[in-house]
């Protein structure tokens, strides 16, 4: 029968399989790390220093909610000694894969895994589902840095001192960054601290630094804004006298532009305040190519436009 063709082909494919063995010895070479977002990659690079070789799956401007891996990512994941990801379902369906990988014994770490539940923002609909955009609250990212240091030390105890030292250095930089964001925010009158963007990536930012945050699309970029959302937001802008609204690098700007036009049609002078980095870092060679640079660029853009 013709099914024989099938019966022959499948085992043939199976026959060209060989086992990919992980070498356990980390003393003589850097730890191969795969990180999902640029923010996570930057964090691991800062804590791991010379001891790690980090590959980020998602480049600048990529939306992590909808990311699809490539063949090169497959190779990097296979060769990785450890995988670091954001967690809290930022990576969509990939999160599910990573959770299972961790349970099966492969070193796989969500950098948000040690955050206390009380620190996490819960959308109204369901308990136990959290907003994943924790990195814009610098104090939470300091906790994530500790998680990375702890997990690297567990994997590579011989270099635990290196990780502890790097953590101390980086933590000091984060403390300084936190203070910088607070100082910049303080230059705005409290009534001007309203941040309107394309999707709700800035919830933690708003809660920590005292901004009222309104997003168009909800937490996930996959939900489309409705006509009523655009109208309501335009009315809100006029009522509060908000000077500027913002575009995000990883979300198409069309809906934000629609809100600006609707508000202008109502007679309010709302402008586009510029681009904020939300779910992805800026290009590597720019200042916003690191986590610290990104947070600074955002607060500078916000303060400049709302003042």
């Amino acid at each position: 029968m013709r099914w024989f063709a099938l019966a022959i082909l499948l085992p043939l494919v199976a026959a060209c399989t060989q086992n990919a063995v992980q070498t356990g010895d980390l003393a003589g070479r850097p730890i191969r790390v795969v990180a999902t977002t640029g923010m996570v990659a930057d964090l691991v690079e800062n804590i791991g220093g010379e001891r790690v070789e980090v590959a980020a799956l998602m480049g600048p401007g990529v939306d992590p909610h909808l990311y699809k891996p490539t063949a090169g990512d497959v190779r990097r994941l296979e060769a990785a000694d450890v995988i670091f990801y954001n967690g809290l379902e930022l990576e969509g369906r990939m999160t599910d894969t990573f959770v299972k990988l961790a349970r099966s014994g492969k070193p796989t770490v969500a950098v948000t895994e040690d955050l206390p539940e009380a620190a996490l923002r819960e959308p109204d609909e369901f308990e136990g589902k959290y907003d994943p955009h924790v990195w814009f609250d610098v104090t939470l990212w300091r906790e994530a840095a500790k998680t990375v240091a702890r997990q690297l030390s567990r994997l590579d105890p011989a270099s635990a001192d290196v990780y502890a030292g790097n953590l101390a250095t980086y933590d000091a930089m984060l403390v300084e960054l936190h203070r910088y964001v607070e100082d910049q925010t303080a230059t705005l009158p409290p009534s001007a601290r309203v941040l309107v963007t394309a999707h709700d990536a800035f919830g933690y930012f708003g809660a920590r630094y005292g901004f009222e945050v309104r997003g168009l699309q909800g937490v996930s970029t996959a939900t489309e804004a409705s006509a009523a959302d655009v109208r309501d937001l335009a009315a809100f802008l006029c009522a509060r006298g908000v000077k500027a609204i913002f575009v995000e690098t990883s979300v198409a700007p069309a809906t934000v532009e629609a809100v600006r036009r609707a508000a202008n049609a109502n007679g309010c002078a709302v402008t586009l305040g510029g681009e904020l980095y939300s779910d992805a870092l800026g290009p590597a060679e720019t200042p916003a190519g690191t986590y610290i640079g990104m947070v600074r660029a955002n607060i500078d853009t916000i303060v400049r436009a709302l003042r």
Partner: protein, 295 residues
Amino acid sequence: MSSLSVILLTGALVAAACALLGSFVLVRKMAMMTDAISHAILPGIVAAYFLAKGPNLIAGFVGAAAAGLLTVAFVEALQRSRKVTKEAAIGIVFPALFALGVLITSRFFADVHLDADAVLYGSIELAAEDLLLVGDRSLGPQALWVMGGLLLVDLAFVLLLYKELKLATFDPALAASLGFPPVWLHYALMAMVSVTAVGGFTAVGAVLVVALFIVPPATAFLLTDRLPRLIALSVLLGVGGAIAGTLAAFALDTSVAGAIASVTGLIFGLALLFSPTQGLLRRAWRLAAQLPRLP
């Protein structure tokens, strides 16, 4: 197994399962059904999200499969009314179901990740990492279990009901008079299509499943007009395309699903040009031969 071999095997299993059913779907002129299902499952996913209180792959699969079956039932019923054509029936049902899902999502779940991409669709690139766990013990890649299981069920379905399916497809009147109503066979076939498609979505994502359901059978249709050959050729072309596409993706460091879909499209293009019976070149040649020679 290395990641590459898991992906090759997964791709081959998906291609075989899709082409097997896709051949019948194509002959029944319902090729867009799988594409329709990929949209129409949204309300099922939303319902599952609500009942499971969060994203849950198994609940999502059950919800999606149920919505897929509903799509099939609506399309068959609408088509059977003879008020609209087959493709119009598909075009009426799936936007309605998809829109229902969008309405519920934007009304009740505006602040959560809730769509097929975030909850249901897997990707073939992660086939080796996405494990099937019992407790904390890994039984190997989940996609291999899902697609291997579906292929076996599909194969059993087609082998057991081959004569009936053939008769019901090409001569429904005779089939009915011989005692097996084609209606139920069609429902059964389309139910298999729905479950296989949704299973494929969870294992490898939507684009790949839709492409492998339609393109290899359409290619085979250019090369033969006998059903058994059509099926065998569809499976061979699908499996060959999956393997060639995967290897191309690894050589070029690009999306595996995209590369497989492109390779199957390329094979279709070649068949369209060079098919010995129905190819465009062959037809042009025949036309030229018929032209009266100029003196």
